[in-house]
């Protein structure tokens, strides 16, 4: 039986048709996946389904009743888990779970802390969460926060449908499995689930049905038992992409560029490694293993405790991001939205901000140079943007990332640290980013450090992989003589050892 039926949904914004004639049927007790590249219209569709936007054309029927944005919002039949964390960071787990209190059981005028915490316990137990109801949200790990966000959506009593927008971006494999187990049990209780993800292996492991969006149109709609990954990728991109291709730099590595000795800092202890010209050095580990912190310390964003490093044979100066950039060491952050882009400035200004010497003379910006560099980056890295004057916040995540990579390359760096470069980025752009990294290593002889939580990504790109556990280096694996088949086997083997050491 269809719980939700969307017919011919069209949503226009000035100059863009975000959704065109999209049909969607959600069956009771099924997990329905929606996939598509960045900017394909997934978010707009979700906003229409949750009543955040009113569709310009088309009808939306839930359990036989036609809905508009307003009645949809009032009915509370849909529980929605947004992509970004939007918890109250300084309130407790239990408070976050039941807010707004008037929508849940807590309708009493008085604030009953103990009662609320007691009622929170079963939800936390169901999610196997290792936190207590009284904990303050900002003190619990990001992965637990993500699960809390799902639990919060489920604390609404009336919901029949749950929509999750990329819920696993900050979860490790085992944490994702925990979430999937809960989703499966909800499905078996007869709830209907809409699951949005970039990770196709997840789609196949959990989904019953898939809808594929491309450029605001529904281009594929099938039962997942009838199709395979290649079919979905073909529908998503409109072209064939070989996802088994690897991007390991082929040229032999050169001189040692950066050598780190016994470095300690916030979240990590006694770390040593080196990176050479023309190689990609992968860093594997769980979220919170200290990988980002090492690189941020090296880059000068965080203070070091002990240890030293040398760069091109000379002693490395810690604690100054400007001089790191000047010396040719660049860190591309995982937190693109908060630490990477300047949201309300345009693409040109976002590019120019790291290229003072290129675009200004005596501190005064030279407009022709400024525009030329921006156009060059947009062209070289095929950034999809209306113009150089478009605010960067209006670009898709993948295109924002291309701008950040492109502007970094304009300063001709020698070492580039990519921290989760494909987080929240679609398949096609992912491949483009891998290709960029390979080219940088091979042609420019840049030493690349790649931090990633996706095992597949590391094996696809790295010459060597360093694994980290709990702030220390746990092993180093050279991957140059591993064949395609062995890589696939190593994904399972490697992920097992890492997770093994995580317990």
């Amino acid at each position: 039986m269809a719980v939700l039926e969307a017919r011919s949904i069209t949503k226009k914004f000035p100059g863009v048709v975000a959704l065109h004639d999209v049909n969607l049927t959600l069956e009771e007790g099924k997990i329905h996946c929606i996939v598509g590249e960045n900017g394909a219209g997934k978010s707009t569709l979700v906003k229409v389904l949750t009543g955040l936007y009113q569709a310009d054309e088309g009808t939306l029927t839930i359990e036989g009743q036609e809905m508009n944005a307003h009645s949809l919002h009032d009915s509370e039949v849909i529980a929605y888990v947004p992509q970004e964390l939007n918890l109250f960071r300084f309130m407790s787990v239990a408070e976050n779970l039941f807010i707004p209190f008037n929508k849940t059981k807590h309708t009493s005028v008085f604030y009953e802390k103990r009662k609320m915490e007691e009622e929170a316990a079963p939800y936390l137990k169901r999610f196997n969460m290792a936190v207590s109801p009284g904990d303050i949200v900002q003190d619990i790990p990001i992965s637990e926060q993500q699960l809390l966000q799902v639990a919060r959506a489920l604390s609404r009593e009336k919901f029949r449908i749950i929509i999750l927008d990329e819920p696993t971006t900050s979860l490790t494999k085992s944490e994702s499995e925990r979430l999937f187990a809960i989703l499966r049990s909800l499905r078996d209780e007869g709830k209907s689930i809409v699951f949005i993800s970039h990770k196709l292996d997840e789609v196949f492991s959990i989904g019953d049905h898939v809808s594929v969006l491309r450029n605001g149109e529904l281009v594929g709609d099938a039962s997942l038992s009838d199709v395979d990954q290649n079919w979905i990728i073909h529908k998503m991109t409109g072209e064939e992409i070989d996802i088994t291709k690897n991007y390991i730099p082929a040229e032999p590595a050169g001189e040692v560029l950066l050598e780190v000795k016994n470095l300690s800092g916030y979240m990590f202890e006694d770390v040593s490694f080196s990176v050479r010209e023309g190689e990609i050095l992968g860093f594997a580990g769980l979220v919170g293993a200290g990988r980002s912190e090492i690189m941020q310390t090296l880059y000068g964003y965080r203070k070091k405790k002990r240890g030293e490093a040398s760069y091109k044979g000379q002693s490395w100066k810690f604690g100054n991001t400007a001089s790191s950039i000047g010396n040719g060491v660049i860190y591309l952050t995982e937190e693109r939205k908060t630490h990477g882009i300047l949201p309300f400035l345009n693409v040109r200004e976002n590019i120019g901000i790291v290229l003072k010497d290129k675009i200004s003379a005596h501190g005064v910006v030279v407009p022709p140079k400024d525009h030329a560099v921006a156009k060059k980056v947009i062209g070289d890295y095929s950034v999809k943007t209306h113009s150089t004057e478009t605010k960067i916040i209006n670009l898709s995540g993948g295109n924002q990332q291309k701008v950040l990579i492109g502007r970094a390359m304009e300063s001709t760096p020698k070492v580039v640290i990519f921290d989760e470069p494909t987080k929240g980025i679609d398949v096609k752009t992912k491949e483009e980013i891998y290709r960029m990294m390979k080219e940088l290593a091979e042609k420019e002889r840049v030493g690349i450090i790649l931090i990633s939580s996706e095992m597949e990504e590391l094996l696809k790109c790295s010459n060597r992989i360093i694994t980290m556990y709990n702030g220390r280096v746990s092993s180093e694996i050279a991957g140059k003589d591993i064949t395609q088949k062995q890589i696939l086997r190593a994904i399972i083997g490697l992920s097992c050892t890492i997770q093994g050491s995580g317990n």
Partner: protein
């Protein structure tokens, strides 16, 4: 009405909407023009040379201090001690020029240097100890005001030399000198924020201080310099006012604190930083200037003046928010 003229009107209206969409300052500029036109109808005394002179002269004081505050707001910072700095600088200039008999021009320069120092001191404390700018500058406001009392012992300094009071009182080609100073300040600050790399850094820090640190901007340095510039402009305002009154007193400046924030905000500078422009601060200040002027000319009861003043500011903000909505959708 025949179809052709209707189409022409429609086309004009569409152009107007597009203009508002494409221009961040469009909404507030339209509000300024509208208020100006309405004012012309309210009082026949509004559009006279004499009244316009009064208006732009008082705009000069609020305008200069608002441009300084606007710069800090762009950074996501704020300085609530601008009024106290203004008063203190006026007194310092007066003390040197009148009591110590120092060269008047030199006295003015000393006053301006004091403004830079006081502002930078605020910035230094805020960035070094990672303090909340609002709380720190409220504290400093009291301290600076106290310093003022120490210097003047509560008395007004009178007898400014004629050679410099002309800067506050005089006019060039019918334009009051303070207004000319405002225009120079505006042009310089426009250039600084829009055409230099320092300006880029200001917007970057206002957008996201974490990103700014990541890309290697020396955020502490940029912020301290900006507090210095704001202090300089506050001092300049206070000195100009002392020259206008030919006397320095400790109370000068207090009334400017709120308008210095309201004007940039009306003009579209976000209090969270990174959005808006110095031009907006000037337009915002102009709106407030016209409104308080026409309320007096319109013969509104003194007690109601304040109420109307506040309401019209709110109206201007609503208008701006409306035009912002047009832009984003």
């Amino acid at each position: 009405m025949n179809k052709n003229t209707l189409d022409t009107y429609k086309a004009i209206f569409k152009k107007f909407v597009d203009w508002i969409r494409g221009n961040q300052l469009a909404g507030v500029t339209a509000a300024l023009v509208l208020i100006f036109i309405v004012s012309c109808f309210i009082s026949e005394n509004f559009l006279t040379v004499y009244n316009l002179q009064i208006m732009v002269r008082s705009l000069a004081f609020v305008g200069i201090i608002a441009i300084g505050q606007g710069l800090l707001l762009l950074l996501g910072d704020i300085d609530l001690s601008v009024g106290a700095i203004a008063g203190l600088c006026g007194v310092i200039t007066g003390k040197f020029a009148v009591t110590f008999g120092v060269n008047p021009i030199l006295s003015i320069l000393i006053g301006l240097l004091a403004g830079i120092a006081l502002g930078m001191f605020n910035g230094l404390l805020i960035t070094s100890f990672n303090l909340n700018a609002i709380v720190l500058t409220i504290g400093m406001q009291t301290a600076y005001k106290g310093l003022n009392q120490v210097i003047t012992k509560g008395r007004t300094i009178t007898g400014f030399p004629k050679s410099i009071t002309i800067i506050g009182e005089g006019s060039i080609f019918q334009i009051p000198t303070p207004t000319i100073v405002l225009l120079i300040v505006f042009i310089l600050m426009y250039f600084l924020t829009r055409k230099t790399f320092y300006g880029r850094n200001v917007y970057a820090i206002g957008n996201s201080i974490e990103t700014a640190k990541m890309v290697g901007i020396k955020t502490k340095k940029v912020r301290i310099i900006s507090y210095g510039i704001c202090g300089f402009l506050a001092g300049l305002t206070g000195i100009l006012m002392s020259l206008r009154l030919a006397s320095a007193q400790s109370s000068i400046g207090e009334i400017w604190v709120l308008p210095s924030i309201a004007a940039p905000v009306i003009g579209g500078i976000a209090t969270t930083g990174g959005i808006g422009s110095i031009t907006g601060a000037l337009i915002g200040g102009s709106i407030m200037g016209i409104v308080s002027n026409i309320i007096v000319l319109g013969g509104v009861n003194l007690y109601w003046q304040q109420v109307l003043n506040g309401l019209i500011v709110v109206l201007a903000i609503i208008f701006d928010s409306f035009s912002r909505k047009l832009r984003t959708h």
